[in-house]
């Protein structure tokens, strides 16, 4: 494709999953305790989507990547300091709440509106990328809902690989049950891809990319619209963390069989 793609990646932020997350009840419903104190990261699923987008764009001259991200502005700014050195993109920030207790329908509405308002976005070249799942919103429907709102009919979920064919069509590998992939062919844009993990490693930090990105990211953050996704129909009856039982033993070079045997023995004992 001579003019390249217009790739919009939807990717919000989540508390660093390595932190101890503790749901609490607030007047507005469930929330995470001290969420603003916790470091945030780009949702790992969205991260895969972003890196795949940048890789695809780098092989299709004329392409451009946008990252549409909903989250508290201060936290978005923090996360940009981590990812903006990795790949080139333009940030479309939306200042608002994001976390494990945001309604997917309301979130999709906000994100779709933001995408529609991107200046210069060519719908005929549009590839909409996002995470198939989310480390924060486990319903796994946000991307579908955005696609529906934007009228994108070709949607692929659990994508691990996207290959551009010589004629410009796409070959797509989607995860299906049994650890296998379904192979699909798609004529071209506009398409929605909900990425699983993809195949790419996290890109290296590149200071020149970071410097160039940040010149546009900070003004964009300063102009970020504030939005609160409205979810009148949503009621949470209860929220509780999964029960944890930690027994730590750090051992190196144990074979997969030995690890499996140990886990089975531990489960049987428990």
């Amino acid at each position: 494709m001579s003019n390249g793609y217009h790739i919009v990646v939807c990717g919000s932020i989540v508390p660093d999953p390595l932190q101890t997350l503790e749901p609490i009840e607030t007047f507005a419903g469930p929330a995470l305790k001290n969420e603003m104190l916790l470091p945030a990261v780009l949702d790992p699923w969205a991260g895969h989507a972003l890196y795949e987008a940048a890789n695809l764009a780098s092989h299709a001259p004329g392409s451009k990547v946008w990252l549409v991200s909903l989250g508290a502005k201060a936290k978005l700014q923090q996360v940009m300091m981590t990812i903006a050195q990795k790949v080139s993109f333009e940030l479309i920030p939306i200042d608002g709440p994001a976390g494990g207790f945001t309604d997917a329908h309301a979130t999709a509405a906000v994100l779709a509106e933001a995408i529609q308002s991107i200046a210069g976005l060519d719908r005929s070249r549009l590839l909409l990328f996002g995470g198939w799942e989310s480390a924060s919103r486990g319903a796994g429907v946000t991307m579908q809902l955005i696609g529906e709102r934007l009228g994108i009919l070709d949607q692929f979920q659990g994508v691990d690989q996207l290959t551009v064919q010589p004629d410009g069509s796409f070959e797509i590998l989607e995860r299906i049950e049994g650890g296998r992939h379904q192979v699909s062919l798609c004529q071209g844009a506009s398409v929605l891809f909900g990425w699983a993990t993809g195949n790419l490693p996290e890109p290296r930090n590149n200071p020149q990319i970071g410097m160039a990105n940040m010149r546009a990211i900070m003004p964009a953050l300063q102009r970020a619209k504030t939005t609160a996704p409205v979810a009148d129909a949503m009621r949470y009856r209860s929220a509780s963390p999964p029960k944890q039982q930690r027994q730590t033993r750090i051992v190196k070079n144990l074979s997969a069989d030995e690890i499996a045997q140990e886990i089975v023995a531990w489960i049987e004992k428990a």
Partner: protein, 624 residues
């Protein structure tokens, strides 16, 4: 162009096509000093109409190009809780609203407490045991309770009653947000800087760490040589174990009579207090006497029932099996503290090396093309036990100097920086108080009582009368010297053999044998060392970077006993490897730097055997 300082030796220079980028000011390390520098500088970068007030030399017409690289993955990772008088910070923020900074609060009450040893296991001198006996006998008359004595007065030089309690992680994050949101300068965490770039006597910038390399530094798939960032001025604020500061020291040496002789390891927990803890927000406790007489402790109460609780293990504590984590647990369990902490939950944990040489460890503050600020520049006041505010202030002083030089269009030469930055620093309260403090700790190598006497002498005479400095630079006594009177030689040898055979540090066995009780793990607050590593953020070791700790001459290490690097390692990342030489596990390293100053090779006249480089990753906790 020569990168000076440690760099992975396995990276062959011939295959490297290294990129360069030019900025006006390159900064290394984002801590309180750099916060002060960038805050002051950023306010002068633009005119009210948005035009550049300070114009870039490398990008004509644009504002000054300022970039800061921080090794840790976040601006608030891997640092410490603090109580500070905040004089310099308040000067920068006259309308400072502590409510805007998470975990910050004014000091409400401050106590200095002498902790006696309820277990009877610590190594106390005859004089101290006698003093303890007197206190226990007549304690009811002087307020002795819970094995502790609250001192009626806190010496003025130690007081922080007009200050505030901070989580340095949250403070750094708050400062970083203000700075980056302005869009006027860039701060990049997760970017280790491997070395300064030095041409003859001029620092020309910095070199970032190589990416896409194996643990030994060998290029792998996706190899990306660390970029050279060239700058008219390099601001070095990478702390006491930073690669750039040490590289500059290695190249230029230290001023006559100055050396890094005193260190401490600070280790702390962030604890969610039980509802009925009885501790008021803003409470500050300073302790001494327990778990060993040489170990000082603290407890600061933040808002929302969070408390920072920790200890300092100083280099003058000569135990060859000095371990911070186990001692920290005994500290928490002291009855005076445990009555408040029991039922609490460990939220986070961390450790950091502190450069405690103070003024005696001050390097050259400026040279052609560079300036030093913060802890690595010897700004910590070792008498008042204060470092954050001093570091911040040195940053603001350098920023004022830089603004002056830029306005006068003068280059960043050693002479110009000395006439602006160093002159400001010498005329300030930071320098005045550091002169008083310079020799205040000389007495501690001879014991707690002489140490406290020396502090009082220096503090109350304004530093005019002090105890002479110790002559010995020995880092630790032998096991036999330290424990020979308590453990028979044959048993000591057996313990050593057992530890070596199981590749374990010695300290647990020695402490058990000396009568320290086992830690009653409760899974909430009292957890194993490895569980602490996984609490509140865990340790990250991003792939593609070389090991940042290696042992240069394994044969020297294999003969070294006891191995202080193993005993002192905060994350148990260094263990006994094959043939007795230490081995390093990056996935446990919290980058405290204790191995660097605990290497005993120098005692035998050999150069230090630990190669400590710029590394990525470390603890992921913003609560510290």
């Amino acid at each position: 162009m020569t990168p000076v300082g440690p760099e992975p030796a396995a990276t062959p220079a011939s295959i490297i096509d290294r990129q360069q980028m030019e900025v006006d000011i390159a900064c290394v390390g984002f801590g309180p000093a750099m916060g002060g520098f960038l805050t002051t500088l950023s306010r002068e970068l633009l005119n009210p109409d948005g035009s550049p007030r300070l114009e870039s030399g490398c990008m004509p017409g644009a504002p000054l190009q300022v970039i800061c690289y921080e090794r840790a993955d976040g601006l608030g990772f891997g640092v410490s809780g603090a109580v500070t008088r905040g004089r310099g910070i308040r000067h920068s923020f006259p309308d400072l609203d502590l409510a805007q900074i998470p975990m910050a609060t004014p000091v409400k009450g401050e106590k200095l407490v002498y902790l006696l040893d309820p277990a009877g296991a610590s190594n106390r001198s005859f004089a101290l045991r006698a003093a303890d006996k007197v206190i226990r006998t007549f304690g009811s008359l002087i307020g002795f309770r819970e094995n502790a004595l609250e001192l009626p007065l806190i010496p003025s030089f130690l007081q922080k009653h007009d200050g505030f309690v901070l989580s340095l992680g949250q403070f750094n994050q708050w400062v970083g947000e203000q700075l980056t949101s302005s869009g006027l300068l860039q701060i990049w965490p997760g970017t280790p800087v491997s070395a300064p770039l030095i041409e003859e006597r001029t620092v020309k910038g910095i070199r970032l760490a190589d990416q896409g390399v194996a643990l030994d530094g060998t290029p792998q798939d996706g190899f990306m040589p660390g970029m050279d960032i060239r700058a008219a001025l390099t601001v070095v604020g990478d702390g006491p174990v930073g690669a750039v500061g040490r590289g500059i020291d290695a190249h230029f040496g230290m001023p006559a009579g100055h050396h890094y002789s005193e260190w401490a390891l600070g280790m702390k927990m962030v604890i969610e207090l039980p509802e009925n803890s009885g501790l008021e927000t803003g409470t500050v406790l300073h302790t001494f006497g327990f778990p060993e007489p040489e170990i000082f402790g603290f407890l600061y109460v933040h808002p929302d029932r969070l408390a920072s609780v920790g200890i300092f293990i100083p280099s003058w504590f000569r135990s060859p099996v000095r371990t911070a984590y186990r001692y920290l647990q005994h500290f928490v369990l002291h009855p005076y503290l445990w009555r408040h902490l029991q039922g609490g939950t460990l939220k986070s944990w961390g450790a950091k090396s502190l450069q405690e040489s103070g003024r005696r460890g001050e390097p050259y503050l400026a040279g052609d093309g560079y300036a030093r600020i913060g802890e690595g520049s010897g700004s910590t006041n070792v008498l008042s036990g204060s470092g954050v505010d001093e570091a911040w202030t040195t940053g603001t002083q350098l920023a004022e100097a830089v603004i002056e030089l830029l306005q006068q269009k003068l280059p960043f030469t050693r002479r110009n920086l000395e006439e602006t930055y160093v002159r400001r620093r010498r005329a300030s309260w930071v320098d005045r108080e550091s002169r008083v403090a310079a020799d205040s700790r000389n007495g501690f190598p001879c014991g707690l009582i002489s140490g406290l006497f020396g502090m009082a002498l220096a503090g109350f005479t304004g530093g005019r009368v002090v105890i002479p400095p110790p002559s010995s630079q020995e880092k630790g006594s032998s096991l036999e010297e330290r424990f020979g009177a308590r453990i028979p030689p044959a048993e000591l040898q057996k313990l050593k053999d057992e530890a070596a055979g199981r590749s374990l540090p010695l300290h647990d066995q020695i402490m058990n044998r000396c009568g320290w009780p086992e830690i009653p793990f409760d899974g909430k607050l009292l957890v194993s060392h490895q569980d602490a590593l996984l609490t509140g953020g865990s340790v990250q070791a991003p792939p593609g970077y070389a090991n940042h700790v290696s042992f240069l001459r394994p044969d020297v290490c294999s003969k070294c006993e006891p191995k202080l690097c193993v005993e002192m390692c905060s994350g148990q990342a260094i263990s006994r490897g094959e043939r007795g030489a230490p081995q390093f596990d990056r996935e446990k390293c919290i980058y405290c730097g204790a191995c660097l100053w605990n290497c005993r090779a120098e005692e035998t006249g050999e150069p230090a055997n630990v190669d400590f480089r710029a590394g990525a990753g470390g603890l992921h906790s913003a609560l510290n």
